[in-house]
Amino acid sequence: MAYILLRHREIPDIHEIDVYEKHGGFAALKKAVTEMTPEQVTEEVKASGLRGRGGAGFPTGLKWSFMDKNNWPHYVVANADESEPGTFKDREIMERNPFQFLEGVAIASYAVGANRAYIYLRGEFWPIAHFLDEKIAEMEKAGYLGERLFGTDYSLHIYTHLGAGAYICGEETALLESLEGKRGQPRIRPPFPPSYGLYGKPTVVNNVETLTNVPYIIANGAQAYRQFGTEKSPGVKIFSLSGCVNRPGNYELPLGTTFRELIFEHGGGIPEGRNIKAIMPAGASSSFIVATDEALDTPMDYESVPNVGAQLGSASVIVIDDSVSMDWVVEKTIHFFQHESCGKCTPCREGTYWMRKLIERIRHADGTEEEVALLKDVAMQIRGKCLCALGEFSTMAVVSGIERFAPDFEKAVATSSPE
């Protein structure tokens, strides 16, 4: 199968504008702006069945159609915060196939009538932001961005904006606050960004990978896109594979590919003949899947992954082998969320703090069985009470770890002693 997103793996110089042009680059943008109405573009994306690749899997065309047409100006914001532990796909797209991403931003902007688009990158992507600035300048020079594109009335400017180290800024409303020059703390939703977004104006927030699919869909049509993937989860997805595998990395595969194919065929299996124990399919925010044969044969799509007790999310597949004890993994994820909680609501701020205290006692002091039960109880108390999904995310590994890998916690209690 030819690549749709990671095209630089076949065409290494695709980050150069003339090479990108030679391989069909900007034809989709030109087609959209000169031959299609914004509504037609949105309809085509709707028909493709493309769903958001940032984690929530929301239908992209539908989101665009929600933009409030009685309130202007409109904005498009590309979410390039990529901070979920285990996720490193947007970075590869921007570093190696930047024009396809930028073309996607431009088409989305045209579809929703935005004349300004921002790319919000995590602060650590400093060199990537500078690289994209250069690519944007090249597009302006070539007439693909700027005033009156292709001789029409449509104008568009794209700007990069660097965050400064905060996982929560990947949450779309925290991202918008941050872009407005405030602390990155989530807003109460609804209203959702398509009615109240950047500067209070209708805004589409889409993930980098989501947007990078768009030029293909417009150039080839929704039906062409639907030949990949499944009926309900059409298209291709980049799976970031990490942890205990021989060949970690990004793999672009049709949605519906099984865990087994990803981990054992593409990823080369588990190192040193060890056995696979658990899978986190959505990064650190994920519940643990017990790596049974049935689980390994499960297709990775939005509908099937819940059948084995997790979500597809951003498809950042972390593999854990049988040399690893799950209480150690849970300590890592709790540390992460306690560190990244923005502190705006009490259950998340206090809950992650208490989970940290408890897991540290269980692992490093004279923790008891009761404290393991209490840890799960605290996690359950956090659920359903938080302003944003980070609170929920912080409980996923905790609850599924204690429920599905109880012996590891029993052992931790039995062997831990005061240091």
């Binding site: 285990g86 300004r116 650590e124 660097l162 400064a164 500067y199 990490s242 972390i318 890592k332 992460f336």
Partner: protein, 168 residues
Amino acid sequence: MSLAEKYPQEVERILAKYPPEHKRSAVMPLLYLAQREEGYITKAAMQDVAQLLEMTETEVAAIIGFYTLYHDKKEGKYRMQVCTDLPCALRGADQFLEELCENLGIQVGETTADGLITLEEVKCLAACDKAPMFQLQSGEGIEYYENMTVDKTMELIEALRKAGKEVE
């Protein structure tokens, strides 16, 4: 000298990114600019940013405090930020950091005696398939070093040390 005097073109370019009525959006890029020379944001620079954007000093301080890549204290010339988050830790990042500490003779959070390196532990940097890895942050920006070993890291530090001496 104020930021606008020191870097007139850059300040102008940054402000031009945002609608004029929303210039507060420029606070993050301006804080990076303020951090460039010293590697941290001085009180004067903070006041300067506040004035430029018609924000209060407290508001600017709250931004600096919220985000981990802004610093209000002088530390080593380079912050070596090693990722020990779950995927990297599954590939030996904890041990890498421990050995690095031994080799440098400092603990996480400390700075080498010559003021060159401050060692820090950070969360996922979107390079999980290339662990062990770290980033080097200085006033000038951020650079990734991936698939590292302790030996390669010590060589890098030596090279940075030499480069620093030549400049002086």
